[in-house]
Every structure is written in C-alpha cells, then in structure tokens.
Symmetry: C2
Subunit: 248 residues, 2 copies
Amino acid sequence: MNMTEPILKERNILNQLKVVCSLCSLRELCLPIGFGPDELQQLDALTGSKRLVKRGEHLYRTGSEFTAIYAIRGGFFKTSVLHDDGREHVTGFHMMGDIMGLDAISTEAHVCDAVALETSEICEIPFDKLSDLSMIMPVLHQNLHKIMSREIAFDHEIMLMLGKMRAEERLAAFLLNLSQRFSARGYSAASFQLRMTREELGSYLGLKLETVSRIFSRFQEEGLIGVQKKLIELKDTDGLKRLLGGLA
Amino acid sequence: MNMTEPILKERNILNQLKVVCSLCSLRELCLPIGFGPDELQQLDALTGSKRLVKRGEHLYRTGSEFTAIYAIRGGFFKTSVLHDDGREHVTGFHMMGDIMGLDAISTEAHVCDAVALETSEICEIPFDKLSDLSMIMPVLHQNLHKIMSREIAFDHEIMLMLGKMRAEERLAAFLLNLSQRFSARGYSAASFQLRMTREELGSYLGLKLETVSRIFSRFQEEGLIGVQKKLIELKDTDGLKRLLGGLA
DNA sequence: GAAACGATTTGATCCAAATCATAATCCGTG
DNA sequence: CACGGATTATGATTTGGATCAAATCGTTTC
C-alpha cells in the first residue's frame, strides 16, 4: 500500500461532506461527540445548503417523498398530522439543534406536516448521502443511531404524559421540558417566548385551548409562573416539579 | 488485488454473523428485505444464542446496562416504567418479530422494564457487533434505520391515540392494530388471546381497568366483538373501524 | 387609523371517565 | 381439590376537563 490511497479516500470524504450540505450544522447540534479536532475544523469550514423557511410555510408535507432529514439551525417548527375530518394533531415542537424527518425513513414518505412557527433556518441533509457517508465514518454512524434512539425514548416520555398525567401535570412537565431545552441551547431557562398558540399547545398535550389558558392563569395566581400573552417566566421551578409528584 | 481478499472478508463476515447470535431471527422478523437468496440461506443456516424467558420474568430492567437489542422469536412481552410512587405505566406490547431495546442506544442504559407475559423465546443481538457488521453490510445498515424509524412513526400513532381519542376509540384502535399484527404473522386476524390483564391494557391506553372492562362489555352487547375472559373474537371489523371515524 | 379577524381569557353547564364499592369468577398452589 | 389471592364485571357517585358562550385583547390589512 502506498500513501495515495488514504489521501484519495480523505478527499472523497470531503467531497461527500460538501454534498451532505456540510455537517457544520450537525456539529452544533446532535452529532458533536466523537469527532477529532481536525475533523471538526473541517466540518466547520464547510458551508452547506442552508435554507430559510418563513413563518407559516411548510418544510415538508404528509405524503411527500422522503429524500432528506433536516437540521434546524435556528427558529421553531411544529409537526402535525391532519385527519379526514379536518382536525389537526400536533405531534411535536422542534427548535435549534433538533433533527426532523426521521420518522419517514421506513415508509420513504413523510408522515406528518412540518410548519415553521417563526422564520427559521434549516439545513437539508440528503439521506442517501448521509447514509453512505456513515458507512465510512463510524462516529457519524453511531451518532445517527443515538439521535434516533433519543427520539424513541423522548416519545415514550410524551406517551407517559398523555396517558397518565392530569392537565396541570402536563402543563408543568411541558414548561419544565421547554425551559430545559432552551437552557441547553444557551438561552434563559427562566424566561422564554412561546411560539405556538394555546390551541397548538393543547393539541400537543391532549387538552383543549380553554384548559391550557385556565391552567396558565391558575399557575400565575399561585405564583408558579408569570404569563404575559406568549412570554412565560418560570418563577418557582421547584413548585412546578412538586406538581409532577412521583411522575418522572 | 487478488482473489483472497474478498474471500477472507466473506469469512470474516460469517464469523461475525455467528457472534451476532445469528440473523436467522432477524430474517424472519424485521430485516428481511434486501438480502439475496444466498445470503438468506446462510443466515437461516446459522443458529444463534436463543434464550427462554419464562412468564413473569424480566428480560431487562430500567437502569441495567445496554449491551444488546432483542428479537422476539415467539411469545409476548410488555415494556413498562415504574414511578417513585409505585405506579406502573405500560409503554408497549411486543410479539414475535418485534425488536426490543432500541430506546436505550442513546443513554446506554435501559429506560424501561421488559417482562414476559407468557414464556417466550428471544434472540439476543449484541449491539456493538451488530453496529460493526452494519458498517460492512449496507442492507443491514438500511434495515436498522428502517426499524428505528418505524418505531418512531408507530409511537406517533400511539401519541395520537392517547391525545385525541375517547375511550371507545382507543379500545377499537387497539383491537384492530393487534388483529392486524397477528394477521401479519400468520395467525388469525379474527380471534386471538389477550396476554395482558385489563389493568395492563388500561395502563397502556391511558384508561382505568374498570373502563376497559365496561367497554369490552359494551362492544359485546353491540355485537362488535365476542369476549370470553382473555379470548377476543372480532365480529364486526368494519363497525370497529367506523367507530374510529376520521381518526387515523 | 379603523375595520376585521384571530387569539386569549373567563364564566356556566355538561358529560365521559375516574373513583368507590361489591360481587363474581378465575387460577395458581399447597 | 380446596383455599386464597388476583382478576374481572358491574353498579353508584364524583369530578376534571370538554363544551358552549361571550367579552376582551392583539395584530394584520386596507
């Protein structure tokens, strides 16, 4: 073996990385562990096919062909399914650092709508390219599995919430989770802006919008949170946690 | 390049396949698409580390180290999480052909208990070996993604059920899903034995056991199903589907 | 800047499922 | 096979959240 082969291989990887829209977004997001410093620098240096999705626009729709997964660089999305009778069910809220579209791999068609709740920047990652690439980059391969596994585990938490918690507990759990996610991304854990309506939040939590509104008011009376329209301030995190009691 | 290298590689794969407990179980189950006839025959010929789990025994427990995923060759499992206050929440029912343990990849520790509801035969698949192997077998790699993706999509359906459906709709949806799963495995779609108690079923569906019992009785009065203890007979599948209305 | 529409809050009433209670039945085990 | 605990069925009552209703507040839009 001579030295040219590894170099060629290296170059090939770099080319593919470009195609793969740059993993700079992935670096910031969910795939950071395990790359060496050099690899990280290379990933960072690459610029990829980013795209703006304006508030209210669809990133993808139910039934459209699955070709890519999407890393959110900034902004806020909801995913939802629409029923025959016109009712909407919100299946998730997604922010900077989250990956969307993983549930479509098995059917090769998207199974929900993804809509931007504010103007957002996303990074499109062609899945076949990512898949090929992960065959030669073990770390990427592992991280891909971890991301999917994390989504499964997170969904199980949601199922617990929907199946076992009362309305107050659901709201408390939601606020604490959102706070924690903002905090993990460098934003304030105590104060944040909701991007969704009461109706969308209710749909996600299995509640009616009136119930969401009432419980926000009640939490405010009890000094647990401050509410000004969409601006939420967590005033007594321990109190909220106490509400959850024995549940997770 | 000479001819020895591919042959060595091939042998290496076969050795690893043995370690990987044999993919014969996987063949029957969730990874069947994409292997050539020769590969399939080889997979079938291999016998792997199967294990019996008796009724009531744990396959794994919350917090135990994640080392393997499990393919069910026969039998029936529930997965559940236990809360501080002693309450149990059932997160899933699993039968022949299902893969369990995927939600533990990200944390490297199991996040739920898996208990056999009847004496069952499982195949343990060491995950690091499977992961290595999938690096050199693209089809295995793809199928692994598909399985995980399918689990995510299925969980979204459960979330819909828990968030939007009334008790009757949940039971109807559950019975139809179970029937369809039995049917896909070659068993009768119209008549089957429930392996779980009313309480476990209620826990899974977000209902109390009394509600489950009452609705089974009501369905029977209406001629939708026949119930004799745990033996369920679907008498009017269309009627059950009609109950679901616009949902799913 | 007024009009129009959407989002939120709050009140009154209703209902599905939980809870409480009691049998009846099943099934594992000594 | 008879005992005892677990499971199921069913009735009576309670209640949390849905539904119906109306007023207020915001924010597009023309």
